[in-house]
């Protein structure tokens, strides 16, 4: 493949997962697989109420149960004095429980079974209090306030740093309220814009709380350091440095006394930044033995940080010629009991996909007695995209325009304002739309009875963060590359290709070493589609520096100048003298024994990318809707994405397949449903429908390569964009098939059937 005028040997060619062998043989070690000598097992007692006062805790029976080592409450742990103001800091509940599923007591036993048996014998007496569950009621001015004295102060939550964009001005009003933050974006004059419009569509969209649904529930093992004080945490995380900082802060330990070792991670999708680690570390230090905690699926659903539910009131106007005149939105985010701020990003995307001179977006971040919301792959984007892309589709329809042409006409380009009025960096939205326009699935689309085709665009700003790496060559020619990032998506299988390319050696000769917080060079957490984008530059720099050292040794060895040397297939040779060649392993051996010269072959690289590289997608869904039942069957799915440059296309396509199906989950299947008392009705895979094998079609991934000017080799973030557009594309396909516009996710058969009934009865409840 040729790229930027150069030809690559390894980059841009598909390469299988480098840690595949461990994973297909059952040898990969996930946190819950770890057993340490003397290890104990922890089990949680969770709050059965969404809001209650803890009157008394009787642990005597539990403590006396066989195999029980300790039964601990908040006051027993070294975290006892920390303010409880985020999910991470809610190690164990103190005097009140604030959501159904909040951990209250931890039981530690010799076996998991002993701990679980005893946990059932802990008697917690509660005085139930009225919970505030409905987000609209919570946001009302006369609502009872969850934190009348304001949130307890101390530190900040660490899952918020997902997208490297300005999330807008955040103001907090003076009077106590359940609205903990507001974001307002204004451009032009929306009133004038709507007055100029020939068609205006105004609707309310609702998206539910959705769980990240990683297949490996949260798991962590902590081992206290009995001699120096401190703790080592082996955990399932996307960012060992984030976890270390939070554990150190909550346990009042200096950072160097906390070592966090990232184990193989069984999926994270934004959720795994240390939810249970402070608790496990605190318990291990308290009982002075290693402790393992593995959540059950139900506990995981109840006690972790799903993505927030949202209500989007959206009004968009357009002229008959197809130009957009105004976008106005009011967004309510249901963040659960502690603050989480996605409203800004929802606004940025709502007002950022299309050129529009007049805009007003008001986002309100609301607290309720539910678990604190957290990040889930492209946090906020499926919500924003569902709302804007449903409306855009109907505007095109109302104006008699082709929906794709209409989008192309208005699509944002590099430099156009995002919702917050900051300019988009280099983007390829039009390119993906053009590719879809020319794709047979769109161009030659044909629908049978009860079938429909829908399209939607989506995008994600993508994050970035500084990172470092170390590269060294061993005497047998093995090249080792050290990073401090976690591989959640095949990143490592792309990083080795960067090294392979620069040193011209087969990827099999390269070992990637994922460091812990002590041994790993710094890297940001693996979220926000930033890892390859941020770390590949550091890896490339380290590999290039190693290459220079190899040349320096070889020049000395052959007594020629560096300019006369070339590196090919792991051999450095003198140009024109093929028998004058030496392997990089031999050069490493020379370097390790020779007096003078550069010394052993090792080099470091640091990089801090200066601009983010957003990724845009255009998705197409074809559906069949059973008119008798409202059952939706996906017949075809095409996912087109601007990936910049696919360092490893196999990994990139895999991200697109998986992200698209998660988008389908948003569209048709997934919702965490709470009743009026704040009880979670969907706390297992029986009730929470993760898209199953036979519920989804093949995903045709189409990679558009529109190089980012800043990323390594032109790469862009690729992990998050594929989840953004699915729900909207499906809703538009259903509209195409049935004439019914669904405004609430997920679009379940029953709701669709009712909507179709209403339409037949001529009492359509959805205007437009």
């Amino acid at each position: 493949m040729s790229h930027n005028g150069s030809t690559f040997r390894y980059l841009g060619k598909g390469h299988r997962l480098i840690e595949g062998l461990e994973k297909i043989t059952g040898n990969a070690k996930y946190a819950g697989d770890l057993s340490l000598p003397g290890m104990l097992h922890a089990c949680l007692v969770l709050s059965p109420y969404a809001h209650a006062r803890i009157v008394a805790i009787d642990r005597s029976t539990a403590q006396a149960a066989p195999g029980v080592v300790a039964v601990l409450t908040a006051d027993d742990l070294p975290t006892r004095d920390r303010a409880v103001n985020s999910r991470h800091s809610a190690v164990l509940a103190k005097d009140r429980v604030l959501w159904r599923g909040q951990p209250v007591v931890v039981v530690v036993g010799e076996t998991e079974a002993a701990a679980r048996d005893a946990a059932d014998r802990v008697v917690v007496e509660y005085e139930p209090l009225t919970p505030i569950i409905d987000v609209q009621k919570a946001a009302a001015p006369d609502a009872p306030v969850i934190w009348p004295q304001g949130l307890p102060k101390e530190g900040a939550d660490l899952t918020a740093a997902h997208a490297a964009v300005d999330k807008g001005e955040q103001e907090t009003t003076g009077a106590p309220s359940n609205i903990h933050d507001e974001v307002h974006f204004v451009r032009g004059d929306v009133e004038r814009g709507f007055a100029e419009a020939d068609v205006v569509i105004e609707r309310v969209y609702r998206t539910p709380m959705v769980h990240q649904g990683y297949l490996e529930p949260h798991a962590s093992v902590a081992e206290p350091d009995l001699y120096r004080g401190g703790v080592t945490v082996y955990t399932s995380t996307q960012g060992q440095f984030s976890v270390r900082d939070e554990v150190a802060r909550l346990l009042s330990l200096p950072k160097h006394k906390v070592r966090v070792v990232p184990m193989t991670i069984g999926g994270g999708f934004g959720a795994k930044y240390g939810i249970i680690d402070p608790l496990v570390a605190a318990v291990a230090i308290t009982v002075k033995r290693p402790v393992r905690l593995v959540l059950t699926r139900t506990e995981d659903f109840l006690s972790t940080t799903p993505s927030p539910a949202a209500i989007v009131e959206l009004k968009v106007g357009a002229r008959a010629d197809g130009t957009l005149t105004a976008i106005q939105a009011r967004v309510l985010m249901d963040n659960g009991v502690f603050p989480f701020t996605l409203g800004g990003i929802v606004g940025i995307l709502l007002g950022g996909y299309y050129k529009c001179p007049n805009l007003r977006i008001d986002c309100y971040e609301v607290l309720t007695h539910k678990p604190q919301a957290g990040a889930y792959r492209a946090p906020g984007a499926p919500t924003a995209t569902f709302a804007i892309e449903s409306t855009i589709d109907d505007l095109a329809r109302a104006l008699g325009h082709d929906p794709l042409t209409f989008r192309l006409q208005n699509a944002a380009e590099t430099g156009d304002p995002m919702g917050n009025n900051d300019p988009w960096p280099h983007i390829g939205l039009k390119l993906v739309l053009e590719r879809l326009r020319d794709h047979p699935a769109w161009k030659d689309r044909q629908v049978g009875p009860n079938e429909g085709v829908g399209i939607a665009i989506g995008g994600w700003p993508c994050g970035m963060s500084p990172a470092a790496s170390i590269c060294r060559v061993d005497t047998d020619g093995t090249v080792r590359i050290h990073v401090g990032s976690v591989d959640i998506s095949g990143v490592n299988s792309s990083l080795v290709l960067v090294v392979a390319e620069i040193l011209d050696i087969p990827p099999e000769q390269i070992e990637l070493i994922q460091g812990d917080t002590r041994s790993g060079p710094f890297a940001g957490p693996s979220g926000g589609s930033q890892t390859t984008y941020s770390v590949a530059g550091a890896v490339a720099k380290a590999a290039r520096a190693v290459r220079e050292k190899l040349f320096e040794i070889a020049a000395d060895h052959f007594e020629v100048s560096v300019a006369d040397l070339e590196l090919r297939n792991g051999m450095v040779s003198v140009r024109g003298f093929p028998d004058k060649a030496v392997s990089i392993g031999t050069l490493a051996a020379i370097a390790e024994s020779k007096a003078g010269g550069p010394g052993p072959i090792i080099a470091e690289g640091s990089a801090a990318v200066s601009e983010n590289a957003p990724g845009f997608v255009a998705h197409l869904a074809k559906v069949h809707v059973d008119p008798e039942t409202g059952q939706v069957t996906l017949k075809q799915y095409v996912a087109i994405q601007d990936v910049g440059f696919a360092l490893n296309p196999t990994m990139v396509a895999g991200q697109i397949h998986g992200g698209s199906v998660q988008g389908i989950g948003w569209g048709l299947y997934e919702a965490m449903i709470y009743d009026e008392y704040g009880q979670l009705l969907t706390a297992s895979f029986m009730d929470y429908n993760l898209p199953a094998f036979d519920q989804v079609p093949d995903i045709e991934a189409v990679l558009v390569e529109n190089p980012s000017p800043y990323g390594p080799f032109g790469a862009r973030g690729v992990g998050e964009p594929p989840i953004t557009a699915g729900a909207a594309a499906i809703a538009n396909a259903i509209r195409d098939a049935t004439g019914v516009r669904m405004t609430e996710l997920p679009i379940r058969a029953e709701a669709l059937w009712r909507a179709m009934r209403e339409q037949i009865n001529g009492q359509s409840s959805t205007p437009g």
């Binding site: 997962l17 297909i24 070690k29 990683y214 297949l215 139900t298 959640i488 998660q662 895979f685 993760l690």
Partner: protein, 160 residues
């Protein structure tokens, strides 16, 4: 406590277990075979699938005592003499795995599927593996992986 004798991956084990011990816990905690995973508590996800006397079973739905006298095959026993099973090869070559958490159960379930239907259609693969959840791959490449293995086991050319 109950005494059971189970052959796991060709090796015979005699163990004392609590009667309530699930097969998956027995494999993971007693035999330290942690390749068999646990993804749920309602027998929905399939991360725990192993073969018991040649038939795929969700090992979280079976008691260890029920496996007394049985022959159990787990992911750790699938490769023979360092030679990967075509399914393992297929999952790796076709990128049928990402985080890998679902993979052992997925492979074992596919093993049973191909035993029953050596030449499945894509549709039949999807249907046959509907009891196994994967959150990462979108299933697309798992279908390719199973077809790769099916072809290889029929000693045909593997599909491109």
């Amino acid at each position: 406590m109950a005494t059971i004798t189970v052959t796991v991956n060709g090796k015979s084990y005699t163990s004392e277990v609590e009667p309530r011990t699930l097969l998956v816990h027995y494999l993971r905690e007693h035999l330290n075979l942690t390749g068999t995973h646990i993804g749920c508590d309602t027998s929905q996800c399939g991360a725990c699938v192993v073969l018991v006397d040649g038939v795929s079973v969700k090992s979280c739905t079976m008691l260890a005592v029920q496996a007394d006298g049985a022959n159990v095959l787990t992911i750790e026993g699938l490769a023979q003499n360092g030679q990967l099973h075509p399914l393992q090869e297929g999952f790796w070559e076709c990128h049928g795995l990402q985080c890998g958490y679902c993979t052992p159960g997925m492979i074992m379930a596919a093993y049973d599927l191909l035993q029953q239907n050596p030449e499945p259609t894509d549709e039949e693969v999807r249907h046959g593996l509907e009891g196994n959840l994967c959150r990462c791959t979108g299933y697309h490449n798992i279908v390719r992986a199973v077809q790769y293995a099916a072809a290889k086991m029929r000693s045909e050319e593997v599909p491109a």
